[in-house]
């Protein structure tokens, strides 16, 4: 049983926007968000990410399992949102800190988590490795059927 991260990746040219996918537990009915924390370890806060220039120098580099943020819900659960793609972290969404509601109300637009820029050489293989909306739904369906 592998953990499905329920991340959604929207890509423009090479830029990727990481958002929660529709089946993420946080987006299900009844969940309220208590806090969102971009401080993922003692030494690393995603809020301190600074990029400069066209090539986005100075960005924190992310691997697939790099945590972007940790979100706690009021029922005591904590969820870590992982990057799921390799690349430079361009920005994290600070709007959800001041207004956590938009994460649940508009997860695919204003409630995005982060913007990542993969390496030029890797960008094609990354987009090919993702599931389309249809494929995602099929995977979910399979799980539902297999677990019941």
């Amino acid at each position: 049983f592998s953990q499905l991260q329920h991340n959604n990746c929207i890509s423009f040219c090479r830029i990727c926007v990481i958002t929660l996918a529709e089946a993420h537990p946080l987006l299900q009915n009844g969940k309220t968000i208590k806090s969102i924390n971009y401080q993922i370890s003692a030494n690393c806060s995603r809020l301190q990410n600074k990029v400069s220039g066209k090539s986005k120098r100075g960005a924190q580099f992310l691997t697939e399992l790099a945590p972007l943020c940790r979100i706690s819900s009021s029922d005591g659960e904590e969820y870590t949102i992982y990057s799921c793609i390799r690349g430079r972290l361009i920005e994290v969404n600070e709007n959800i800190l001041s207004n956590p509601a938009i994460l649940q109300e508009k997860p695919s637009t204003e409630g995005y988590i982060a913007v990542v820029l993969p390496k030029f050489e890797e960008s094609k293989s990354i987009t090919q490795g993702l599931l389309t909306q249809k494929e995602y739904k099929e995977v979910l369906l399979k799980r539902l059927n297999s677990s019941s």
Partner: protein
């Protein structure tokens, strides 16, 4: 208008003996009369010999306008005795006496000058002039004047230096000095001689400011290695060569010659310079016309046309482009090598440009044709407009390079007006959008849009929407006219770009909005001047 005097005599004799041509001799005697240099080679040679044979007591001046036939008796004496009064204890080198075998004295083959390597000899002759003009005429350029630029092999500077030192020493014996700047420059003398000939043959004047350039590159392979000693003497003057071209550029050689000490120079380079076997060769004769600039304004009626060619990995993604549709005909008419297209801002592939259109300017590089009347420009404009319905141009005209600045300043400072077709998710009524009309000078904070973030730095831009005017269409659509500051991202103002443009139409209406169509209605730059087409 100086001419040769007594004090010049030893110099003339010395240089003639060591293989220097008459015109170079005149240069080193600081003769500044342009006409003199234009005299035929043979005449100059004859006059110099005459000058030498004149009795010292006579104190004759040589001015080719008035030729004094020398006293016959004295002449005969000289031919009998040989050049008895010519003692040259070359402190630098033993110079062979004049009667040694064949010298430049006789009518037999002209020896290549050891200073100019033939530039002031063969390359002043009518054959070369004809060759240059043939090249110019066959290249089929339109021009009203010309500038003739010549690239000389660097070793000429070395030989010039050696000869100067030689002459300086000789004059020192007479207690006279010779500053380097007093000597007539080789290039200058060459132009004195060749400009009138080229001018006559081409039918237009020579003009230093001319946009039409005829350039010749000379080389002398035989003596190519003569500059090498400078590299050991002044290594820091010679930077490693880019593109595998020779390190010994003219500039580098001149710099090194300024640095090197006289003694070091004389240690490494023969003084006087040796006589070469061959003349220089003219490697290339090229013509080039200065760029012309054509300006105008364009309208774009297609929602499927990029401004510049859209090519990824060698594959063209969309057919044609604004710049190609406009430049194609200009390139053909002006017969240019290439073009550079620029405009006062630009629009996306799917955005139309209406109204008066967007100012643009095209630089046409090395055009063969440069003169076009206003009528002809109008005709060109018509041709472009007839060839495509995707774009149209107006106010097509020739402008100067400096005028381009006006266009670029428009890009940053001037306002633009747009018309956007907007969709909303939740229903709207007329009242819901009416308030937009009252908002003035709305300040936006726009983070670099995601769609361009891969090639632009991440930043926040403050931009102003000056005015808005809404047109209700139905419950999910309305048209919005906006007047904005230059550099405002309109699409992002409508859909919000994931909340990264604030405020946005969605946030103002408390709905989700998206943009279906965008048109540029005006680019508020009053350049180029409007023509009454």
């Amino acid at each position: 208008m100086s001419s040769l005097t007594e004090k010049d005599r030893p110099i003339v004799q010395l240089l003639l003996n060591t293989g220097t041509c008459p015109r170079c001799i005149l240069r080193f005697c600081c003769v500044g009369s342009q006409t003199l240099y234009r005299h035929p080679y043979k005449d100059l040679m004859k006059d110099l010999k005459e000058f030498l044979k004149n009795n010292q007591e006579k104190e004759d001046t040589v001015c080719s306008d008035v030729v004094d036939p020398p006293c016959k008796r004295i002449r005969l004496e000289h031919t009998e005795e040989g050049p008895g009064d010519l003692n040259h204890n070359g402190a630098l080198q033993q110079i062979p006496s004049v009667n040694d075998g064949n010298t430049a004295m006789e009518d037999s083959a002209v020896k290549v000058c050891n200073v100019c390597l033939g530039i002031l000899q063969e390359f002043c002759e009518v054959d070369f002039v004809k060759k240059v003009c043939q090249k110019v005429n066959s290249a089929d350029y339109q021009f009203t004047s010309f500038v003739f630029s010549v690239s000389l092999p660097p070793q000429l500077s070395v030989r010039e230096r050696a000869t100067w030192l030689l002459v300086k020493q000789e004059m020192g014996k007479l207690g006279l000095s010779l500053a380097k700047d007093d000597i007539v420059q080789l290039k200058e003398a060459y132009k004195w001689i060749i400009h009138p000939q080229l001018s006559e043959e081409l039918g237009v004047p020579a003009d230093g400011k001319s946009l039409f350039e005829v350039s010749v590159v000379f080389a002398h392979p035989e003596t190519e290695d003569e500059c090498r000693f400078l590299a050991t003497a002044c290594p820091d003057c010679f930077k490693p060569a880019k593109n595998k071209q020779s390190v010994f550029t003219r500039m580098a050689v001149i710099k090194a010659l300024e640095k090197i000490k006289e003694e070091d120079f004389l240690k490494h380079f023969p003084c006087p310079p040796s006589s070469p076997k061959n003349l220089c060769v003219a490697l290339e004769i090229q013509c080039n016309n200065g760029a012309v600039f054509v300006a105008g304004r364009y309208n774009k009626y297609s929602r499927n046309l990029p401004q510049t060619p859209w090519i990824i990995d060698g594959e063209r993604k969309l057919e044609s482009s604004v710049e190609e549709l406009i430049s194609e005909h200009l390139m053909a008419e002006f017969k240019a090598d290439s073009f550079n297209f620029s405009s006062s801002g630009r629009e996306d592939v799917d955005v139309r440009t209406l109204g008066n259109g967007r100012p643009f300017a095209i630089e046409l590089v090395n055009p063969r044709r440069i003169r076009f009347t206003a009528e002809e420009m109008k005709g060109l404009q018509q041709t472009i407009n007839n060839s495509s319905d995707k774009i149209q141009v107006r106010d097509l005209q020739l402008v100067t390079r400096s005028a381009i600045g006006r266009m670029k300043e428009g890009e940053e400072e001037k306002t633009k007006t747009y018309s956007a077709l907007i969709w909303t998710d939740k229903a709207i009524q007329k009242e819901d959008i009416a308030f937009l009309d009252d908002i003035k000078e709305l300040k936006l904070d726009q983070k670099t849009p995601l769609r361009v973030l891969h090639r632009r730095p991440l930043a926040v831009r403050c931009r102003i929407i000056h005015t808005m005017q809404s047109e209700y269409i139905d419950e999910h659509h309305f048209r919005l006219h906006l007047k904005t500051q230059a550099g405002t991202y309109i699409k992002e103002f409508v859909h919000g770009d994931f909340g990264r443009t604030k405020p946005n139409i969605g946030s103002l209406l408390n709905r989700t909005a998206d943009i279906l169509e965008l048109d540029v209605e005006s680019v508020d730059v009053d350049w180029p001047p409007t023509l009454d087409n």
